[in-house]
Protein backbone atom coordinates (compact mmCIF):
# COMPACT_ATOMS: atom_id res chain seq x y z
CA UNK A 1 0.00 0.00 0.00
CA UNK A 2 1.41 3.41 -0.92
CA UNK A 3 2.18 5.79 1.91
CA UNK A 4 0.26 8.64 0.35
CA UNK A 5 -2.50 8.49 -2.18
CA UNK A 6 -4.06 11.63 -3.58
CA UNK A 7 -7.18 11.27 -5.67
CA UNK A 8 -8.68 13.97 -7.78
CA UNK A 9 -7.48 16.77 -5.53
CA UNK A 10 -9.00 20.18 -6.23
CA UNK A 11 -8.39 23.55 -4.78
CA UNK A 12 -10.41 26.48 -6.07
CA UNK A 13 -9.67 29.83 -4.52
CA UNK A 14 -12.75 31.99 -4.53
CA UNK A 15 -12.33 35.46 -6.04
CA UNK A 16 -14.27 37.73 -3.73
CA UNK A 17 -15.62 41.13 -4.41
CA UNK A 18 -17.65 43.72 -2.73
CA UNK A 19 -19.17 44.69 0.51
CA UNK A 20 -20.44 41.28 1.49
CA UNK A 21 -17.49 39.57 -0.19
CA UNK A 22 -19.55 37.85 -2.77
CA UNK A 23 -17.73 35.14 -4.72
CA UNK A 24 -17.54 36.16 -8.34
CA UNK A 25 -15.30 33.43 -9.66
CA UNK A 26 -12.65 30.89 -8.84
CA UNK A 27 -8.95 30.47 -9.39
CA UNK A 28 -8.69 26.82 -10.28
CA UNK A 29 -5.26 26.49 -8.74
CA UNK A 30 -5.44 22.72 -8.57
CA UNK A 31 -8.04 21.06 -10.70
CA UNK A 32 -8.02 17.32 -10.32
CA UNK A 33 -4.61 15.97 -9.40
CA UNK A 34 -4.00 12.33 -8.55
CA UNK A 35 -0.75 10.78 -7.42
CA UNK A 36 0.67 8.29 -5.03
CA UNK A 37 3.93 8.06 -3.11
CA UNK A 38 5.43 4.93 -1.66
CA UNK A 39 7.46 4.72 1.50
CA UNK A 40 11.04 5.76 0.82
CA UNK A 41 10.19 7.02 -2.63
CA UNK A 42 10.70 10.47 -4.13
CA UNK A 43 7.90 11.85 -6.16
CA UNK A 44 8.87 14.89 -8.26
CA UNK A 45 6.41 17.53 -9.27
CA UNK A 46 7.39 19.96 -12.03
CA UNK A 47 5.69 22.70 -13.92
CA UNK A 48 5.89 26.35 -14.64
CA UNK A 49 5.28 29.09 -12.15
CA UNK A 50 1.67 29.35 -11.07
CA UNK A 51 0.65 25.90 -12.32
CA UNK A 52 -0.40 24.84 -8.82
CA UNK A 53 2.57 22.91 -7.46
CA UNK A 54 2.71 24.65 -4.11
CA UNK A 55 -1.03 24.57 -3.76
CA UNK A 56 -0.96 20.85 -4.29
CA UNK A 57 1.76 20.43 -1.69
CA UNK A 58 0.02 22.56 0.89
CA UNK A 59 -3.33 20.98 0.26
CA UNK A 60 -1.86 17.57 0.96
CA UNK A 61 -0.81 18.86 4.37
CA UNK A 62 -4.15 20.64 4.81
CA UNK A 63 -2.28 23.89 5.30
CA UNK A 64 -4.93 25.08 2.94
CA UNK A 65 -8.21 23.27 2.99
CA UNK A 66 -8.72 21.41 -0.31
CA UNK A 67 -11.94 21.97 -2.18
CA UNK A 68 -12.41 18.36 -3.17
CA UNK A 69 -10.59 15.05 -3.44
CA UNK A 70 -9.22 12.38 -1.22
CA UNK A 71 -5.91 12.42 0.59
CA UNK A 72 -5.12 9.03 2.05
CA UNK A 73 -2.13 8.86 4.31
CA UNK A 74 -1.34 5.36 5.49
CA UNK A 75 -4.75 4.47 4.20
CA UNK A 76 -6.70 7.04 6.18
CA UNK A 77 -8.34 10.06 4.67
CA UNK A 78 -6.85 13.01 6.45
CA UNK A 79 -9.59 15.29 5.18
CA UNK A 80 -11.94 13.50 7.52
CA UNK A 81 -9.78 13.93 10.59
CA UNK A 82 -10.71 16.16 13.50
CA UNK A 83 -8.33 18.85 14.62
CA UNK A 84 -6.74 16.86 17.45
CA UNK A 85 -6.19 13.84 15.27
CA UNK A 86 -4.89 16.03 12.50
CA UNK A 87 -2.44 17.59 14.87
CA UNK A 88 -1.09 14.16 15.75
CA UNK A 89 -0.96 13.27 12.07
CA UNK A 90 1.20 16.31 11.35
CA UNK A 91 4.11 14.58 13.04
CA UNK A 92 4.23 12.22 10.12
CA UNK A 93 4.11 14.74 7.31
CA UNK A 94 6.37 17.73 7.17
CA UNK A 95 7.21 20.52 4.77
CA UNK A 96 10.37 22.32 3.69
CA UNK A 97 9.97 25.68 2.04
CA UNK A 98 11.57 27.44 -0.86
CA UNK A 99 12.66 30.69 0.72
CA UNK A 100 15.36 30.03 3.31
CA UNK A 101 14.96 33.60 4.57
CA UNK A 102 11.22 33.66 5.10
CA UNK A 103 10.81 30.18 6.48
CA UNK A 104 12.65 30.78 9.75
CA UNK A 105 11.32 33.11 12.37
CA UNK A 106 13.98 35.83 12.65
CA UNK A 107 13.24 36.24 16.34
CA UNK A 108 14.02 32.65 17.25
CA UNK A 109 17.44 31.16 17.77
CA UNK A 110 18.13 27.99 15.89
CA UNK A 111 17.64 26.11 19.12
CA UNK A 112 14.18 27.60 19.56
CA UNK A 113 13.36 26.77 15.98
CA UNK A 114 14.32 23.16 16.48
CA UNK A 115 12.76 22.75 19.90
CA UNK A 116 9.42 24.24 18.91
CA UNK A 117 8.14 21.06 17.26
CA UNK A 118 9.22 19.03 20.30
CA UNK A 119 7.29 21.36 22.57
CA UNK A 120 4.23 21.29 20.38
CA UNK A 121 4.11 17.54 20.41
CA UNK A 122 5.47 17.03 23.92
CA UNK A 123 8.18 14.82 22.54
CA UNK A 124 10.54 15.08 25.47
CA UNK A 125 9.84 15.78 29.06
CA UNK A 126 13.10 17.47 30.00
CA UNK A 127 15.00 20.39 28.61
CA UNK A 128 18.17 18.34 28.58
CA UNK A 129 16.63 15.77 26.29
CA UNK A 130 15.40 18.43 23.95
CA UNK A 131 18.81 19.98 23.93
CA UNK A 132 20.40 16.71 23.08
CA UNK A 133 17.96 16.09 20.27
CA UNK A 134 18.57 19.57 18.88
CA UNK A 135 22.32 18.94 18.74
CA UNK A 136 21.69 15.61 17.14
CA UNK A 137 19.50 17.23 14.48
CA UNK A 138 22.19 19.79 13.73
CA UNK A 139 24.67 17.04 13.15
CA UNK A 140 22.27 15.14 10.94
CA UNK A 141 21.99 18.08 8.59
CA UNK A 142 25.69 18.74 8.71
CA UNK A 143 25.84 21.83 10.89
CA UNK A 144 27.90 22.33 13.99
CA UNK A 145 25.80 22.06 17.19
CA UNK A 146 27.91 24.85 18.62
CA UNK A 147 25.93 27.28 16.48
CA UNK A 148 22.60 26.35 18.02
CA UNK A 149 22.24 29.61 19.85
CA UNK A 150 22.73 31.79 16.82
CA UNK A 151 19.96 33.55 14.97
CA UNK A 152 18.98 32.54 11.43
CA UNK A 153 20.37 35.71 9.89
CA UNK A 154 23.82 34.61 10.91
CA UNK A 155 23.62 31.67 8.52
CA UNK A 156 23.98 31.47 4.76
CA UNK A 157 21.10 30.47 2.51
CA UNK A 158 22.21 26.85 2.23
CA UNK A 159 22.69 26.56 5.95
CA UNK A 160 19.27 28.03 6.59
CA UNK A 161 17.80 25.48 4.26
CA UNK A 162 19.50 22.79 6.32
CA UNK A 163 17.97 24.23 9.47
CA UNK A 164 14.57 24.12 7.78
CA UNK A 165 15.15 20.46 6.99
CA UNK A 166 16.27 19.79 10.55
CA UNK A 167 13.08 21.35 11.85
CA UNK A 168 11.06 19.08 9.62
CA UNK A 169 13.04 16.09 10.85
CA UNK A 170 12.52 16.98 14.50
CA UNK A 171 9.23 15.10 14.66
CA UNK A 172 10.43 11.99 12.83
CA UNK A 173 8.17 12.32 9.82
CA UNK A 174 7.55 9.68 7.22
CA UNK A 175 6.87 12.10 4.41
CA UNK A 176 8.42 15.45 3.61
CA UNK A 177 6.95 17.77 1.11
CA UNK A 178 9.80 19.85 -0.20
CA UNK A 179 8.46 22.91 -1.97
CA UNK A 180 11.28 24.10 -4.23
CA UNK A 181 13.87 23.58 -1.51
CA UNK A 182 16.81 24.41 -3.74
CA UNK A 183 15.41 26.99 -6.14
CA UNK A 184 16.80 29.88 -4.17
CA UNK A 185 20.23 28.40 -3.78
CA UNK A 186 23.36 28.68 -5.83
CA UNK A 187 24.42 25.66 -7.82
CA UNK A 188 27.30 24.76 -5.58
CA UNK A 189 25.10 24.92 -2.51
CA UNK A 190 22.15 23.38 -4.26
CA UNK A 191 24.11 20.20 -4.80
CA UNK A 192 24.97 20.08 -1.10
CA UNK A 193 21.30 20.20 -0.16
CA UNK A 194 20.30 17.69 -2.80
CA UNK A 195 22.91 15.30 -1.51
CA UNK A 196 21.73 15.83 2.03
CA UNK A 197 18.15 15.02 1.09
CA UNK A 198 19.38 11.92 -0.67
CA UNK A 199 21.35 10.78 2.36
CA UNK A 200 18.46 11.38 4.73
CA UNK A 201 16.15 9.38 2.57
CA UNK A 202 18.49 6.45 2.66
CA UNK A 203 19.10 6.67 6.38
CA UNK A 204 15.62 7.37 7.59
CA UNK A 205 13.49 5.82 4.89
CA UNK A 206 11.75 9.10 4.17
CA UNK A 207 9.36 9.63 1.32
CA UNK A 208 9.52 12.96 -0.52
CA UNK A 209 7.19 14.96 -2.62
CA UNK A 210 9.78 17.12 -4.31
CA UNK A 211 8.46 20.23 -5.98
CA UNK A 212 10.62 22.17 -8.41
CA UNK A 213 10.46 23.99 -11.68
CA UNK A 214 13.93 22.89 -12.70
CA UNK A 215 13.59 19.66 -14.64
CA UNK A 216 17.18 18.59 -14.27
CA UNK A 217 17.01 18.84 -10.49
CA UNK A 218 13.72 16.98 -10.33
CA UNK A 219 14.95 14.31 -12.59
CA UNK A 220 18.10 13.93 -10.58
CA UNK A 221 16.35 13.29 -7.34
CA UNK A 222 13.04 11.69 -8.24
CA UNK A 223 11.93 8.14 -8.79
CA UNK A 224 8.75 9.20 -10.47
CA UNK A 225 7.79 12.57 -11.88
CA UNK A 226 4.49 14.32 -12.40
CA UNK A 227 4.27 17.21 -14.85
CA UNK A 228 1.67 19.83 -14.06
CA UNK A 229 0.15 22.37 -16.32
CA UNK A 230 -2.47 24.89 -15.27
CA UNK A 231 -3.68 23.02 -12.24
CA UNK A 232 -3.74 19.62 -13.85
CA UNK A 233 -1.38 16.73 -14.05
CA UNK A 234 -0.58 16.19 -17.72
CA UNK A 235 1.96 13.40 -17.48
CA UNK A 236 3.25 11.05 -14.81
CA UNK A 237 6.00 8.54 -15.30
CA UNK A 238 9.19 7.07 -13.91
CA UNK A 239 11.99 9.66 -14.12
CA UNK A 240 14.05 8.00 -16.81
CA UNK A 241 11.08 7.25 -18.99
CA UNK A 242 10.02 10.86 -18.88
CA UNK A 243 13.41 11.98 -20.08
CA UNK A 244 13.92 9.35 -22.73
CA UNK A 245 10.43 9.40 -24.08
CA UNK A 246 8.24 12.26 -23.03
CA UNK A 247 4.72 11.76 -24.30
CA UNK A 248 2.87 14.97 -23.70
CA UNK A 249 3.82 17.83 -26.06
CA UNK A 250 4.17 20.06 -23.06
CA UNK A 251 6.63 17.72 -21.39
CA UNK A 252 8.55 17.58 -24.63
CA UNK A 253 8.77 21.35 -24.84
CA UNK A 254 9.74 21.62 -21.23
CA UNK A 255 12.55 19.16 -21.64
CA UNK A 256 13.87 20.72 -24.77
CA UNK A 257 13.94 24.15 -23.17
CA UNK A 258 16.42 23.19 -20.48
CA UNK A 259 19.80 24.77 -21.33
CA UNK A 260 22.49 22.19 -21.60
CA UNK A 261 25.85 23.08 -20.09
CA UNK A 262 27.77 21.90 -23.09
CA UNK A 263 28.69 24.33 -25.87
CA UNK A 264 28.79 21.57 -28.44
CA UNK A 265 25.54 19.84 -27.57
CA UNK A 266 23.04 19.48 -30.36
CA UNK A 267 19.85 21.38 -29.69
CA UNK A 268 16.56 21.02 -31.42
CA UNK A 269 14.49 23.17 -29.30
CA UNK A 270 10.71 23.38 -29.26
CA UNK A 271 9.97 27.00 -28.47
CA UNK A 272 6.47 27.37 -27.09
CA UNK A 273 4.48 30.37 -28.20
CA UNK A 274 2.75 32.64 -25.75
CA UNK A 275 2.40 32.49 -21.99
CA UNK A 276 0.72 30.40 -19.39
CA UNK A 277 -3.00 31.28 -19.35
CA UNK A 278 -4.61 32.48 -16.14
CA UNK A 279 -5.98 29.68 -13.94
CA UNK A 280 -9.09 31.78 -13.26
CA UNK A 281 -10.21 31.35 -16.86
CA UNK A 282 -8.47 28.25 -18.18
CA UNK A 283 -8.93 27.40 -21.87
CA UNK A 284 -11.66 24.95 -22.75
CA UNK A 285 -10.76 21.40 -23.63
CA UNK A 286 -7.13 20.56 -23.11
CA UNK A 287 -5.64 23.46 -21.15
CA UNK A 288 -2.47 23.27 -23.23
CA UNK A 289 -4.08 23.45 -26.65
CA UNK A 290 -3.48 27.19 -27.34
CA UNK A 291 0.28 26.64 -27.12
CA UNK A 292 0.45 23.15 -28.50
CA UNK A 293 2.06 22.60 -31.90
CA UNK A 294 0.14 19.36 -32.39
CA UNK A 295 -3.27 20.65 -31.31
CA UNK A 296 -6.24 19.16 -33.10
CA UNK A 297 -9.84 20.29 -33.14
CA UNK A 298 -10.85 17.91 -30.40
CA UNK A 299 -8.26 19.46 -28.09
CA UNK A 300 -10.20 22.71 -28.10
CA UNK A 301 -13.38 21.21 -26.77
CA UNK A 302 -12.79 17.94 -24.98
CA UNK A 303 -10.74 17.55 -21.86
CA UNK A 304 -8.36 14.63 -22.47
CA UNK A 305 -8.65 11.73 -20.07
CA UNK A 306 -5.94 10.49 -17.76
CA UNK A 307 -4.65 7.26 -19.19
CA UNK A 308 -1.89 4.79 -18.57
CA UNK A 309 -0.28 4.61 -22.03
CA UNK A 310 2.70 2.56 -20.97
CA UNK A 311 3.12 0.64 -17.76
CA UNK A 312 3.39 3.19 -15.01
CA UNK A 313 3.36 6.00 -17.55
CA UNK A 314 0.26 8.18 -17.50
CA UNK A 315 -0.63 11.01 -19.78
CA UNK A 316 -3.62 13.20 -20.48
CA UNK A 317 -3.44 13.95 -24.19
CA UNK A 318 -5.66 13.37 -27.20
CA UNK A 319 -2.65 12.39 -29.28
CA UNK A 320 -2.59 9.07 -27.48
CA UNK A 321 -6.23 8.15 -27.38
Amino acid sequence: MPLLVVRDLKKHFPIKRGLIQRTVGHVRAVDGVSLSVDTGETFGLVGESGCGKSTTGRSILRLIEPTAGEILFEGRDIRKMGSAEMRRMRRKMQIVFQDPYASLNPRYTVRQVLEEPMLIHNLFSTAAERKKRASQLMEIVGLSPSRLDRYPHEFSGGQRQRIGIARALAVDPKLIIADEPVSALDVSVQSQVLNLLDDLQKELGLAYVFIAHDLSVVKHISDRIGVMYLGRMVELSPADALYSEPLHPYSQALLSAVPVPDPEAKRDRIILQGDLPSPSKPPTGCPFHPRCKDAKDICKTVVPTWEEIRPDHFVACHLYS
Binding site: L63, Q94, A102, S103, L104, I120, R167
Partner: protein, 278 residues
Protein backbone atom coordinates in the same frame (compact mmCIF):
# COMPACT_ATOMS: atom_id res chain seq x y z
CA UNK B 1 22.36 49.68 19.20
CA UNK B 2 25.38 51.91 19.21
CA UNK B 3 25.27 52.05 15.46
CA UNK B 4 21.67 53.14 15.67
CA UNK B 5 22.54 55.98 17.99
CA UNK B 6 25.27 57.05 15.68
CA UNK B 7 23.01 56.99 12.69
CA UNK B 8 20.12 58.64 14.55
CA UNK B 9 21.46 61.04 17.12
CA UNK B 10 17.96 62.49 17.39
CA UNK B 11 16.76 59.35 19.16
CA UNK B 12 19.15 60.28 21.91
CA UNK B 13 17.60 63.68 22.18
CA UNK B 14 14.14 62.11 22.23
CA UNK B 15 15.12 59.70 24.96
CA UNK B 16 16.59 62.45 27.08
CA UNK B 17 13.51 64.60 26.67
CA UNK B 18 11.17 61.77 27.60
CA UNK B 19 13.26 60.78 30.60
CA UNK B 20 13.34 64.43 31.65
CA UNK B 21 9.58 64.57 31.39
CA UNK B 22 9.15 61.47 33.48
CA UNK B 23 11.60 62.80 36.05
CA UNK B 24 9.74 66.08 36.35
CA UNK B 25 6.39 64.33 36.58
CA UNK B 26 7.56 61.97 39.30
CA UNK B 27 9.42 64.52 41.36
CA UNK B 28 7.10 67.46 40.89
CA UNK B 29 6.30 67.66 44.64
CA UNK B 30 10.00 67.77 45.47
CA UNK B 31 10.81 70.34 42.81
CA UNK B 32 7.88 72.66 43.36
CA UNK B 33 8.40 76.15 44.75
CA UNK B 34 4.83 76.59 45.92
CA UNK B 35 1.60 74.70 46.03
CA UNK B 36 0.64 74.81 42.35
CA UNK B 37 -3.02 75.53 43.06
CA UNK B 38 -2.51 78.22 45.66
CA UNK B 39 -3.56 81.71 44.66
CA UNK B 40 -1.25 84.36 46.01
CA UNK B 41 -2.54 87.80 46.83
CA UNK B 42 0.89 89.11 45.97
CA UNK B 43 0.80 87.03 42.80
CA UNK B 44 -1.34 89.60 41.04
CA UNK B 45 -0.37 93.09 40.03
CA UNK B 46 -2.24 96.09 41.40
CA UNK B 47 -4.44 96.00 38.32
CA UNK B 48 -5.21 92.37 38.88
CA UNK B 49 -2.91 91.15 36.08
CA UNK B 50 -0.42 88.29 36.22
CA UNK B 51 3.18 88.99 37.23
CA UNK B 52 6.10 88.51 34.85
CA UNK B 53 8.94 86.21 35.97
CA UNK B 54 10.64 87.57 39.07
CA UNK B 55 12.74 86.36 41.95
CA UNK B 56 9.79 84.91 43.89
CA UNK B 57 7.92 83.46 40.96
CA UNK B 58 10.65 82.36 38.60
CA UNK B 59 8.29 81.75 35.67
CA UNK B 60 5.89 84.48 36.77
CA UNK B 61 2.29 84.01 37.85
CA UNK B 62 -0.94 83.34 36.03
CA UNK B 63 -4.09 85.41 36.06
CA UNK B 64 -5.14 83.96 39.39
CA UNK B 65 -1.81 84.68 41.04
CA UNK B 66 -0.55 81.08 40.97
CA UNK B 67 3.08 80.12 40.53
CA UNK B 68 3.62 79.11 36.92
CA UNK B 69 6.83 77.23 37.67
CA UNK B 70 5.09 74.88 40.06
CA UNK B 71 2.14 74.54 37.75
CA UNK B 72 4.39 73.61 34.84
CA UNK B 73 5.94 70.90 37.03
CA UNK B 74 2.58 69.45 37.97
CA UNK B 75 1.30 69.96 34.47
CA UNK B 76 3.88 67.42 33.38
CA UNK B 77 2.07 64.85 35.49
CA UNK B 78 -1.32 65.54 34.06
CA UNK B 79 -0.13 65.81 30.48
CA UNK B 80 1.84 62.63 30.79
CA UNK B 81 -1.09 60.90 32.43
CA UNK B 82 -3.47 61.91 29.67
CA UNK B 83 -0.96 61.00 27.00
CA UNK B 84 -0.04 57.64 28.46
CA UNK B 85 -3.42 56.43 29.66
CA UNK B 86 -5.34 57.45 26.58
CA UNK B 87 -2.66 55.81 24.45
CA UNK B 88 -2.87 52.65 26.50
CA UNK B 89 -6.61 52.53 26.05
CA UNK B 90 -6.43 52.96 22.31
CA UNK B 91 -3.48 50.58 22.19
CA UNK B 92 -5.49 47.94 23.98
CA UNK B 93 -8.63 48.31 21.91
CA UNK B 94 -6.78 48.79 18.65
CA UNK B 95 -4.46 45.84 19.13
CA UNK B 96 -7.22 43.46 20.17
CA UNK B 97 -9.50 44.43 17.33
CA UNK B 98 -6.63 44.49 14.86
CA UNK B 99 -5.53 40.99 15.80
CA UNK B 100 -9.05 39.59 15.75
CA UNK B 101 -9.74 41.26 12.45
CA UNK B 102 -6.51 40.20 10.83
CA UNK B 103 -6.24 36.69 12.15
CA UNK B 104 -9.80 35.49 11.94
CA UNK B 105 -10.79 37.54 8.92
CA UNK B 106 -14.08 36.89 7.19
CA UNK B 107 -17.18 38.45 8.66
CA UNK B 108 -15.53 39.73 11.84
CA UNK B 109 -12.94 41.45 9.72
CA UNK B 110 -15.55 43.16 7.60
CA UNK B 111 -17.41 44.41 10.65
CA UNK B 112 -14.32 45.67 12.42
CA UNK B 113 -12.97 47.38 9.34
CA UNK B 114 -16.30 49.14 8.80
CA UNK B 115 -16.08 50.28 12.37
CA UNK B 116 -12.63 51.73 11.85
CA UNK B 117 -13.94 53.47 8.77
CA UNK B 118 -16.57 55.06 10.94
CA UNK B 119 -14.05 56.11 13.54
CA UNK B 120 -11.69 57.52 10.95
CA UNK B 121 -14.45 59.49 9.28
CA UNK B 122 -15.22 61.31 12.50
CA UNK B 123 -13.66 64.67 13.11
CA UNK B 124 -11.97 63.50 16.29
CA UNK B 125 -11.95 66.84 18.05
CA UNK B 126 -15.67 67.35 17.71
CA UNK B 127 -16.33 63.84 18.78
CA UNK B 128 -14.22 64.02 21.91
CA UNK B 129 -15.93 67.26 22.74
CA UNK B 130 -19.34 65.69 22.39
CA UNK B 131 -18.29 62.67 24.40
CA UNK B 132 -16.80 64.69 27.22
CA UNK B 133 -19.81 66.97 27.21
CA UNK B 134 -22.07 64.01 27.74
CA UNK B 135 -19.84 62.12 30.18
CA UNK B 136 -18.94 65.19 32.16
CA UNK B 137 -15.64 66.97 32.37
CA UNK B 138 -12.92 65.12 34.19
CA UNK B 139 -9.43 63.98 33.41
CA UNK B 140 -10.54 60.37 33.42
CA UNK B 141 -13.31 61.04 30.97
CA UNK B 142 -10.93 62.98 28.80
CA UNK B 143 -8.47 60.20 28.40
CA UNK B 144 -11.22 57.69 28.02
CA UNK B 145 -12.67 59.79 25.24
CA UNK B 146 -9.34 60.31 23.49
CA UNK B 147 -8.38 56.70 24.01
CA UNK B 148 -11.66 55.18 22.96
CA UNK B 149 -11.64 57.21 19.79
CA UNK B 150 -8.00 56.81 18.89
CA UNK B 151 -7.85 53.09 18.32
CA UNK B 152 -8.73 53.02 14.65
CA UNK B 153 -5.25 53.71 13.35
CA UNK B 154 -3.70 51.15 15.68
CA UNK B 155 -6.27 48.58 14.63
CA UNK B 156 -5.47 49.13 10.99
CA UNK B 157 -1.73 48.91 11.45
CA UNK B 158 -2.01 45.81 13.60
CA UNK B 159 -4.37 44.16 11.17
CA UNK B 160 -2.07 44.85 8.24
CA UNK B 161 0.85 43.49 10.21
CA UNK B 162 -1.04 40.37 11.23
CA UNK B 163 -2.09 39.80 7.65
CA UNK B 164 1.47 40.00 6.42
CA UNK B 165 2.94 37.94 9.25
CA UNK B 166 0.27 35.32 8.74
CA UNK B 167 1.59 34.72 5.25
CA UNK B 168 5.19 34.22 6.30
CA UNK B 169 6.44 30.78 5.56
CA UNK B 170 7.55 30.27 9.12
CA UNK B 171 3.95 30.67 10.24
CA UNK B 172 2.99 28.05 7.70
CA UNK B 173 5.77 25.92 9.05
CA UNK B 174 4.46 26.21 12.59
CA UNK B 175 1.04 25.27 11.34
CA UNK B 176 2.49 22.28 9.54
CA UNK B 177 4.11 21.26 12.80
CA UNK B 178 0.72 21.21 14.39
CA UNK B 179 0.92 24.43 16.43
CA UNK B 180 -2.47 25.59 17.66
CA UNK B 181 -4.05 28.90 16.70
CA UNK B 182 -3.35 30.16 20.16
CA UNK B 183 0.30 29.25 20.00
CA UNK B 184 0.68 30.91 16.62
CA UNK B 185 -1.07 34.04 17.86
CA UNK B 186 0.90 34.41 21.05
CA UNK B 187 4.28 33.06 20.05
CA UNK B 188 4.60 34.30 16.50
CA UNK B 189 2.08 36.93 15.53
CA UNK B 190 2.10 38.87 18.74
CA UNK B 191 5.88 39.41 18.99
CA UNK B 192 5.78 40.64 15.43
CA UNK B 193 3.19 43.31 16.01
CA UNK B 194 4.90 44.67 19.07
CA UNK B 195 7.46 46.84 17.28
CA UNK B 196 5.01 48.80 15.12
CA UNK B 197 2.64 49.08 18.04
CA UNK B 198 5.38 50.45 20.27
CA UNK B 199 6.21 53.01 17.63
CA UNK B 200 2.57 53.96 17.20
CA UNK B 201 2.03 54.22 20.91
CA UNK B 202 5.05 56.40 21.43
CA UNK B 203 3.89 58.72 18.71
CA UNK B 204 0.35 58.71 19.98
CA UNK B 205 1.41 59.66 23.49
CA UNK B 206 2.81 62.87 22.09
CA UNK B 207 -0.17 63.34 19.91
CA UNK B 208 -2.61 62.85 22.75
CA UNK B 209 -0.77 65.38 24.87
CA UNK B 210 -1.35 67.82 22.04
CA UNK B 211 -4.98 66.82 21.79
CA UNK B 212 -5.43 67.48 25.46
CA UNK B 213 -4.16 71.01 24.95
CA UNK B 214 -6.53 71.52 22.07
CA UNK B 215 -9.43 70.31 24.15
CA UNK B 216 -8.42 72.55 26.99
CA UNK B 217 -8.36 75.37 24.50
CA UNK B 218 -11.92 74.47 23.57
CA UNK B 219 -12.82 74.41 27.24
CA UNK B 220 -13.24 70.70 27.85
CA UNK B 221 -9.79 69.74 28.99
CA UNK B 222 -8.55 68.88 32.43
CA UNK B 223 -10.85 70.23 35.13
CA UNK B 224 -9.61 73.16 37.22
CA UNK B 225 -7.83 73.97 39.39
CA UNK B 226 -5.38 71.22 38.41
CA UNK B 227 -2.82 72.32 35.92
CA UNK B 228 -2.14 70.61 32.67
CA UNK B 229 0.06 72.18 30.04
CA UNK B 230 -2.96 72.19 27.83
CA UNK B 231 -5.18 74.22 30.08
CA UNK B 232 -2.31 76.51 31.02
CA UNK B 233 -1.80 77.22 27.34
CA UNK B 234 -5.48 77.71 26.88
CA UNK B 235 -5.57 80.22 29.70
CA UNK B 236 -2.39 81.83 28.48
CA UNK B 237 -3.67 82.39 24.98
CA UNK B 238 -6.30 84.74 26.36
CA UNK B 239 -3.72 87.16 27.61
CA UNK B 240 -0.71 86.35 25.51
CA UNK B 241 -0.45 89.83 24.06
CA UNK B 242 0.50 91.38 27.35
CA UNK B 243 1.55 88.37 29.43
CA UNK B 244 3.33 86.10 26.99
CA UNK B 245 5.05 84.13 29.74
CA UNK B 246 1.73 82.42 30.43
CA UNK B 247 1.96 80.95 26.98
CA UNK B 248 5.66 80.41 26.56
CA UNK B 249 6.57 78.25 29.55
CA UNK B 250 3.86 75.64 29.24
CA UNK B 251 4.13 75.92 25.47
CA UNK B 252 7.83 75.19 25.54
CA UNK B 253 7.33 72.35 27.99
CA UNK B 254 4.65 70.80 25.81
CA UNK B 255 6.73 71.25 22.70
CA UNK B 256 9.73 69.53 24.26
CA UNK B 257 7.69 66.67 25.63
CA UNK B 258 5.79 65.99 22.42
CA UNK B 259 8.99 66.39 20.46
CA UNK B 260 10.65 63.90 22.78
CA UNK B 261 8.00 61.26 22.13
CA UNK B 262 8.03 61.94 18.42
CA UNK B 263 11.80 61.66 18.18
CA UNK B 264 11.76 58.50 20.21
CA UNK B 265 8.96 56.95 18.18
CA UNK B 266 10.72 57.87 15.02
CA UNK B 267 13.98 56.41 16.18
CA UNK B 268 12.28 53.21 17.27
CA UNK B 269 10.61 52.99 13.90
CA UNK B 270 14.04 53.05 12.31
CA UNK B 271 15.40 50.62 14.84
CA UNK B 272 12.62 48.15 14.12
CA UNK B 273 12.79 48.66 10.41
CA UNK B 274 14.08 45.36 9.08
CA UNK B 275 15.32 47.08 5.94
CA UNK B 276 17.79 49.17 7.89
CA UNK B 277 19.10 46.86 10.56
CA UNK B 278 20.08 43.46 9.35
Amino acid sequence: MWRLLKAYPLVFLGGILVLGLIFVAVFAPQLQHFNPNQQFQNGLSAMGGPLPPNSTFVFGTDDLGRDIFSRVLFGARVSLEVGVFSSIISLFIGTSLGIISGYFGKFVDTVIMRLTDIMLAFPLILFVVALVASLGQSITNLFIAIGVLGWAVTARVVRAQVLSVKEYEYVQAAKALGASNWRILTKIIFPNIIPPVIVLTTLSIGNNMLLESTHSYLGIGVAPPNASWGNMLAEGQQVFQYAPWLLYYPGLALLLAVLGFNLLGDGLREAFNPRRVR
